[in-house]
Symmetry: C2
Subunit: 447 residues, 2 copies
């Protein structure tokens, strides 16, 4: 098995103190040893002989931490970024996103996934839970670029039986592929675009195929209010009644959940994907992170799609996650640095049901690691590495990226694809992609 | 006079449409010609002969726009960054900032200013309105690094007459120095740390020396409420009564202003410095930008100090400025892309009283220009350059920076100082700087 030595790094270690308070510590001058796709040891520098390793990453003066985990995205939407600015949410869906998506061809998803995955890897994101169309070609892109993916083929209730068949075929063909880097989920869009029968059928697939579900729900308070008006049930209650509120389900956003919803979510053991830049930019609500975490619900970081979030930058999500909770509580003590870092790593892994093997720099864990250069002037002087990771780090500070034991970015260069070609392929289709034909859309937003 | 040619760039042009709506346009394939410290022409590429210029910046495929303007900072505070995380505002001042600042020596301000100015220049900030102690050595640093500064020596009422003498001496010695790059202001700290007599004396200096004032006021609603309780006057009304609410005054934050304050500010012709990351992180209020702008008050971008803001990154401030107004209004149509860009450029120049010569790429304007590389994958495909500038651009995308006609950053390298030496000098004093002695502080926060 190939071996890798990351030499002489500062290593970020996150733990819960006895009282449950998150703690961030940094081990100075440590080596991280990797055998195959697993971390085999984390030990003081000087004990390992570099000549015994297939590859060595010299990380003197740099920091090693777990790769970031994007718990909810629509990566191929990068091809539409910048096309729907400064518009209301209704117009955003009905006049921009869903008309634009009627232009989508499988080839666009392939190149869009490669482009977005390239952006993410260069920014230190090693795993993505993606929710989009034509996910078979999306999976091919994730495989080729060397990233880890929890992939779902997005479906609407209006697509009926054929969508369920597509989902089942996709899962059977892709679960556990790419040497285990790709896993799959059932991905109904949302309670407001899928009727109860469709959601029940999706829950049936979850049961039958033993994979999780990934769905948007309670994106903002208005959706919850409208759902209560129309159905007498909140979106979360609809998920419960249709069998989708269950251990492992990834719920995107959950900004509009009520106290009773939070209890149901805790009882069921679901996780929540939190995409703060999108909420701020679209003037939505904000996921009630302290309330969710206080009852044990895992909350992870997310970028959502680049048409709302503009980038797939999880460093920006990390600081917005902390700052927006401080803002909402009018209390700067809320969501301190160590807790934010735990959310970005172990808790994001927990949202994906992978916290026993992802999100920490520990022997036995998957070697999804990033080397961050904190020598930039915007970090100096470095009084607190944890604070600098949360509030100062830019995606461009990420130097080297390792996924599943394999170096996929070295010194800010992607190893397995040529980004120039990817950009060229996407640009070739830019005019066609940007067209909006009146009345032509894949769906209507009417929660 | 030295000449400079920026060749074959896309040039950002911002205007108000006839109805007052801001508009952003991009001129493709243009040259910007610079003679001495002024822009002499903006014209289609191909007419100018590069061999006739002292220096040529090839900007093919890149964007030229006005340098960013930081309308309120305490730049040398970068030396303390990361030392006051996750604490209440009272503790932030009384247990962290003001005890830390009792460690300050002039040498710290000098190296801190060089460090922060380096970070800003590399991130495309060409002008800073700085408000801090020992500003004589601060001015020396700004001069040496080649930046533009509107500098004020921060004073508290408790310092009495000697502070006024320091202020007057500082202004007389530094106004118009560094070939005109440095101008000066009278810089009382805030109405809650300066009594009325002191503020009146500061207003007297403003009159006598013909320079503006720069002061914190109404930083959040609580300060306004406490001021009303104690004095029956808002902080803005105190400024008015003491003669400081006048054309040219820079008011930092103004998050807690009341409707009547806004009218007074419009009548007086003051400008407002807006530092959104600090507000979000400290759980404060947010400057009411639409209300201020609707009555003609200039609002500009700011970083504040790096102990609240952590970085001096105005790209982050730019997008937070737009997004936080959308969030507060629960309306994503508020503060659109073109308006955000105007705030970052022309309106920031207007806060400093310099909009007749700064903040636009136009003949006759000061040649404070930045070349931004939008080829990074996080910008691709580039459907909208203005949107990408607001929502996607990182400080690390800034390639080349020109201040007063002089190239100070070329291909991401500072020309006039060695950042390694600066970091070394700051780190040398890190332990001393980080000490907090119980009870030892320069001031007490008790608004």
């Amino acid at each position: 098995m190939p071996t890798l030595l990351i030499q002489n790094a500062a290593v970020l270690t996150l733990t819960d103190a006895a009282d449950g308070t998150p703690r961030a510590e940094v081990l100075a001058a440590h080596d991280v040893l990797v055998v195959g796709n697993l971390i085999s040891a984390v030990q003081p520098t000087g004990q390992a002989d570099p000549s015994q390793f297939d590859e060595v990453v010299r990380a003197g003066g740099k920091l090693v931490m777990p790769g970031l985990i994007n718990t909810h995205a629509h990566v191929p939407m990068v091809i539409f970024r910048g096309l729907a600015e400064d518009v209301s949410i209704d117009r955003w869906f009905n006049e921009f996103i869903w008309p634009l998506e009627s232009n989508l061809q499988p080839d666009d998803v392939y190149w869009g996934m490669l482009l977005g995955a390239s952006e993410m890897l260069l920014g230190g994101v090693t795993t993505v839970a993606d929710h989009y169309f034509h996910m078979d070609v999306g999976a091919r892109a994730i495989d080729e670029i060397g990233m880890r993916g929890v992939l779902g083929w997005a479906v609407f209730g209006s697509q009926g039986q054929s969508a369920l068949e597509t989902t089942e075929r996709f899962i059977r063909e892709h679960q556990g592929t790419a040497g285990g880097r790709i896993s799959t989920v059932v991905a109904p869009h949302a309670p407001y675009t899928c009727d109860d029968d469709f959601l029940r059928a999706c829950a049936g697939l979850v049961e039958k195929l033993s994979v999780p579900a990934h769905i948007h729900a309670a994106e903002m308070r208005e959706q919850t209010d409208l759902s209560l008006q129309k159905r007498g049930l909140t979106p979360i209650e609809i998920l419960q009644q249709t069998g989708l509120l269950r251990r492992g389900t990834i719920i995107a956003h959950a900004c509009g959940v009520l106290p009773n919803d939070i209890e149901l979510m805790a009882d069921a053991g679901v996780g929540v994907a939190h995409a703060p830049k999108t909420y701020l930019k679209l003037g939505m609500d904000v996921t009630p992170i302290p309330a969710l975490r206080s009852v044990g619900v895992a909350v992870g970081l997310a970028s959502d799609g680049a048409v709302s979030n503009n980038t797939l930058d999880l460093w920006e999500a990390l600081r917005l996650c902390a700052m927006m909770q401080k803002d909402r509580a009018r209390n700067p003590e809320v969501l301190p640095v160590a807790e934010a870092l735990l959310i970005a790593t172990r808790e994001s892994a927990r949202v994906l049901g992978m916290d026993d093997r992802l999100g920490a720099v520990k022997p036995g864990y998957l070697a999804d690691l990033i080397v961050v250069d904190l020598s930039g002037l915007h970090h100096q002087p470095l009084h607190s590495i944890p604070a600098s990771l949360v509030y100062n780090t830019m995606a461009s500070d990420v130097q080297t990226v390792i996924v599943d034991g394999r170096v996929v970015v070295r010194d800010r260069h992607l190893r397995h694809i040529d980004p120039v070609q990817v950009v060229h392929q996407v640009n070739r289709n830019m005019q066609r992609l940007a067209q909006r034909v009146p009345g032509q859309r894949i769906q209507t937003y009417q929660p």
